[in-house]
């Protein structure tokens, strides 16, 4: 069974600050996904990382993937209140790509 761990689980940060969310996974996979979920809402896709060294950026968010270390990071630059949400990483199995495993999520609160 593949395990996906995120840290921190809860993050409270001031507007304008930078921070990084970490996602570790336990077995071989070269596909990693980041999603955002607002309270009471569905999940929205942020990034798809498909190879070792992949880096994607959108606005104040940047995601990267190190498949050798089995680690992905989601970096937040100059946080704003609108980024307050829960962020999930997810991994699918390298062989079939059908079994999906989500991390427990990082609940981010950006304080004005």
């Amino acid at each position: 069974e593949l395990k996906v761990e995120q840290n921190p689980l809860f993050l409270s940060m001031q507007e304008g600050k930078n921070y990084t969310i970490y996602c570790n996974y336990s077995t071989t996979s070269d596909r990693l996904y980041w999603y955002r979920q607002d309270p009471g809402k569905s999940l929205e896709s942020l990034f798809v990382l498909l190879s070792n060294g992949a880096v994607k950026q959108e606005g104040r968010l940047m995601a990267s993937l190190d498949t050798k270390a089995r680690l992905s990071t989601l970096h937040i630059t100059a946080a704003v209140h609108d980024l307050s949400a829960t962020y999930f990483c997810a991994v699918d199995m390298a062989d079939t790509g059908n079994q999906f495993y989500f991390g427990t999520g990082t609940s981010l609160t950006v304080i004005p």
Binding site: R31, Y33, L43
Partner: protein, 112 residues
């Protein structure tokens, strides 16, 4: 473009009752998924399908059944509902292994 449509949005069941959660997508995606999300947790995969007529178990399949008679529809059946099945259920679909999943708005199910 409707995307992934889930019905109902809310439902209360009594212990031992049965029901079917509906999921339909209009994007002609082969891959479809059912997840449950318990409060404050990540998503757990219940069942998935790689095409019409093909389904397989995910991480937490016990107490559920699925069918996939068409590309568009992927209903989830709960037999003999139990309080442990109180959760938010999300359906998702995607085009291939290299694309993110598109999620429905979820069904909030309480079993009393």
């Amino acid at each position: 473009n409707a995307g992934v449509t889930q019905t109902p949005k809310f439902r209360i069941l009594k212990i031992g009752q049965s029901m079917t959660l509906q999921c339909a997508q209009d994007m002609n995606h082969n891959y479809m998924y059912w997840y449950r999300q318990d409060p404050g947790m990540g998503l757990k995969l219940i069942y998935y399908s790689v095409g019409a007529g093909i389904t397989d178990k995910g991480e937490v399949p016990n107490g559920y059944n699925v069918s996939r008679s068409t590309t568009e529809d992927f209903p989830l059946r709960l037999e003999l509902a139990a309080p442990s099945q109180t959760s938010v259920y999300f359906c998702a679909s995607r085009d291939n292994h290299y694309q993110p999943q598109h999620f429905g708005d979820g069904t909030r199910l309480s079993i009393l």
